[in-house]
């Protein structure tokens, strides 16, 4: 187990190095630079040159990369060009917000989607199945920003139950913080329910067709036990993989949700930094996202033996 873990962790180093090189190159391929954005339409060429020199942007790109990577090796992600804040603490601070929303939303979506998919598969081709599939497809098709705005209109403007703008950290006031993240969580949960339900249903249908299910039924095992003990554990593995992918994808930033609900999360930090061409922050965010992907997938892989006894970690 430990050997496997060490091997997997060692494999992440070349992956992250490749990501670092591509991120660094891609960010610099985008036209426009931070100095022009900071100085706007009144950029004085001398002033722009001075600022570029102060930020080290006048150096050759390979040299800039070497500086960045050397600092990265010591855990220093650099400083933001726009506000001079250290990038890593900034990312971690923003990541907390995104992580809470994503983890709660995906957990809630999984708790609803897996039983729904299982039941739909069990009652395949019935009205119930049709409703579940229809509902899931509808949720899958709704853009998250539109759903978010609808919820804002209903609960924020019409009913006035929940606040519309702002954010309070959990460290300051737990209940107020909860009121601010309820709607984003609800939006994300609804969107993800669509994906997960369809996956859970498809996996369950496959398992329900297997002989051991027929065998279990034939020997008189109650239906709830067939579903709970024989179908669910076997059908859950593919859904679990998908949950891992969804988590990795969402933890990298839920920019749209964060923008609609004015949450200062990682996704919004990334988008704002791209518009401002804040190279160190964009690079830091993308590299951090890649690391999250790697870690989440590793955790998912390590959890497989828990759901599927045929899989062993060696």
């Amino acid at each position: 187990m430990l050997g496997y873990l060490a091997r997997r962790l060692a494999m992440t180093i070349p992956t992250l190095l490749l990501v670092a090189i591509s991120v660094f190159a891609l960010v610099r391929l985008i036209p426009g630079d931070p100095v022009q954005v900071m100085l706007g339409d009144s950029a004085d060429p001398v002033q722009a040159m001075q600022l570029r020199a102060e930020l080290g942007l006048d150096q050759p790109i390979p040299l800039q990369f070497m500086h960045w990577i050397a600092k990265l090796a010591t855990g220093d992600f650099g400083h933001s060009i726009t506000n001079n804040l250290a990038v890593l603490p900034l990312i971690l601070d923003r990541f907390q917000i995104s992580a809470i929303i994503v983890l709660v939303a995906v957990a809630a979506a999984a708790c609803i989607a897996v039983p729904a998919g299982l039941i739909a598969a069990w009652k395949q081709n019935s009205l119930l199945d049709l409703s579940v599939v229809g509902g899931a497809t509808l949720l899958l098709s709704i853009p998250s920003f539109w759903l978010g705005l609808l919820l804002l209109l209903l609960f924020g403007l019409k009913l006035k139950w929940l606040p519309v703008v702002g954010y309070v950290p959990f460290s300051e006031n737990f209940w107020q913080a909860t009121t601010f993240i309820l709607l984003p969580i609800a939006t994300l949960t609804m969107v993800e329910i669509g994906v997960l339900t369809r996956m859970a249903r498809a996996a369950s249908i496959e398992v329900l067709r297997l002989e051991y299910v027929t065998h279990a039924r034939a020997k008189g095992v109650p239906e709830w036990l067939v579903l709970g003990r024989h179908v669910l554990p076997n059908a859950f593995a593919p859904t679990w993989t998908l949950i891992g992918l969804v988590l990795g994808h969402l933890l990298g930033g839920i920019a749209v949700i964060e923008t609609v609900f004015t949450l200062p999360g990682l996704g919004r930090l990334l988008v704002d930094s791209i518009f401002a061409r804040d190279y160190p922050v964009v690079q830091g965010c993308l590299l951090f996202t890649a690391m999250i992907y790697v870690v989440v997938n590793l955790i998912v892989d390590l959890c497989y033996p828990l759901f599927d006894p045929r899989v062993t970690v060696a």
């Binding site: 630079d33 022009q36 339409d41 726009t82 804002l152 403007l157 006035k160 702002g166 923008t259 518009f275």
Partner: protein
């Protein structure tokens, strides 16, 4: 979540004890005004690491010797008055008595000298330092304080732009700050200024609070621009960082925000029908127009540029894009400028026959003209679409290329475009309005109007202080600008602000940033 403070039980007045309690209650209730920023401020150091949002917030906290008035003329702020001597090269400022910094210290000439020295130190990275270098408007040769209430600044040459530059919001109004603003290591801590508000909490990415400064000594004249009286009637103003405009609008309608600025035209239409919302529509100084690359093989022919200008109906474009909130203007000088004379109102009149004739003369055969635009500013995009459609009517083939703002700025700065729908930020002096357009393309590729005679007139307008002579120069420059067609100015835009009905005393002005002094929450 921040809630609006409840009004105290003032109705209980009548019984002495209850009245006392009510008064205590009133003393404890804080008046809060909540507004919105579309992006966080960059820093609290005026005129250094800044953008328009930063300037707008900082203008509540610091002040300079002089400031812009409502009509963009220069008025006194921390200076009571000034005299100009030595052939226009020495400015002697007489400071106001009894002005306090936020730390309680009284402002003296020594503080002014210290602040100026700091701005002129390259290590400060003051945005406007280059204006006072050899390539700028004038060099500052000497600053001295003959007495604790007087400061004299001597320049190497006379310039009409000295006071406007000192007052520029993007220069941080050349703020006079207390030396406590920086630490022993010379690093910036926080602004200890003389403004009507002092800096409260700045929670990055979330909000900036400014708190009423009780020791503020207001000027006696009425509020005008960033000059005049600044009487604060709220305890705290919170600038919430809300990038999404729909969320900001929802915040206003739900009561979580009191004031939102920079509304788009569709927002305005929707908010007009709300009984609980009032609107403030103010002409702005920004300039929206179509830029031409006069070195482009096709567009170097002035006949083609003029044909495009004659094919469009500026008034119709402005009406469609701005829904009656702005007026057409083909002049580089904004409509609100005191120098926008009758001569400046002569622009392009739509003439399709003439446009077609010019195209035939120029031998134009439908070659595509790429016009860059962006969606960050919807009015710029809409203008581009309408210009494209109108030009098509005379057979001009314009293709639109939509870029993000940073990419467009890059192309603008390199002069790498055929045509471009663009918006310039506000310039508060007429010379600066022309300066942003006129210049040699060989050394400054971003300049759109490369006409040596116009540049000479511009240089003269910066040197002389005589209003009539400056006016004559600007009028002549406008005539040549229209004849050369390096760009088509369309309109100056409008600053659209929505406020709750209980907000009183708010007034926009030509500069597109809010002022929360003189504003009450009822």
């Amino acid at each position: 979540m921040t809630r609006r403070p409840q009004s105290s039980p003032a109705w209980a007045v009548g019984l002495a004890g209850l009245a006392l309690l009510a008064m205590q209650g009133m003393a404890g209730a804080e008046t809060l005004l909540r507004t919105r920023l579309n992006a966080d401020i960059r820093s609290t150091d005026p005129g250094t690491n800044r953008d328009a949002n930063t300037d707008g917030v900082i203008a509540h906290i610091v002040e300079g010797l002089v400031a812009f008035r409502d009509d963009t003329s220069i008025g006194p702020m921390l200076a009571e008055s000034w005299t100009v001597s030595n052939e226009g090269k020495t400015y002697t400022f007489h400071l106001r008595q009894g002005v306090k910094f936020h730390n309680g210290a009284t402002m003296t000439a020594d503080d002014v000298l210290w602040s100026l020295k700091r701005w002129l130190d390259p290590a400060t990275q003051w945005r406007c330092l280059s204006e006072f270098s050899a390539s700028g408007i004038a060099r500052i040769e000497k600053t001295e304080a003959p007495d604790p209430q007087t400061v004299a600044i001597t320049l190497d040459q006379p310039t009409a732009l000295f006071l406007p530059t000192l007052a520029r919001p993007d220069c941080g109004q050349t703020a006079i700050i207390h030396r406590d603003s920086i630490g022993p290591d010379g690093k910036w801590i926080a602004p200890v200024g003389t403004g009507p508000f002092k800096l409260g909490e700045w929670k990055r990415g979330q909000y900036v609070d400014v708190l009423r400064f009780d020791g503020y000594a207001s000027r006696a004249e009425p509020r005008t621009g960033y000059s005049g009286a600044k009487i604060v009637k709220v305890d705290r103003v919170r600038f919430n960082v809300i990038p999404d405009s729909s969320a900001a609008k929802a915040g206003l309608l739900s009561g979580a925000l009191d004031v939102i600025m920079s509304l788009s035209i569709p927002d305005l239409e929707e908010l007009k029908s709300r009984s609980d919302v009032q609107l403030s529509i103010t002409p702005a100084l920004g300039l929206t127009g179509i830029l031409f690359q006069t070195r482009d093989p096709l567009l170097k022919d002035v006949r083609i540029r003029r044909a495009i200008a004659l094919s469009i109906d500026t008034a119709q474009i402005v009406d469609a894009v701005m829904q009656g909130t702005a007026r057409p203007n083909n002049s580089a000088l904004p409509l609100g400028s005191p120098f926008h004379s009758e001569a400046q109102s002569h622009g392009y009149v739509q003439n399709m026959a003439e446009a077609k004739k010019l195209l035939v003369e120029a031998g134009y055969r439908g070659q595509p003209i790429k016009m860059i635009t962006n969606k960050r500013y919807s009015f710029v995009f809409d203008s581009a679409v309408l210009v494209q459609a109108m030009a098509q009517a005379v057979g001009i083939n314009i293709e639109l290329e939509v870029l993000d703002w940073a990419a467009q700025l890059d192309r603008y700065n390199r002069g790498d475009y055929q045509a471009m729908a663009f918006v310039y930020s506000a310039r508060l002096d007429p010379s600066l309005s022309f300066e942003m357009l006129a210049g040699p393309k060989a050394t400054q590729p971003r300049k759109v109007w490369d006409n040596p005679e116009a540049q000479e007139m511009l240089r003269k307008s910066m040197m002389i202080d005589d209003t009539a002579k400056r006016q004559a120069l600007f009028d002549e420059m406008h005539r040549r600008f229209i004849a050369d067609v390096p760009m088509i100015v369309l309109f100056n835009g409008a600053e659209l602000t929505a406020l709750h009905k209980n907000i009183k005393g708010y007034a926009g002005w030509l500069y597109p940033q809010p002022r929360f002094w003189g504003v009450t929450v009822e």
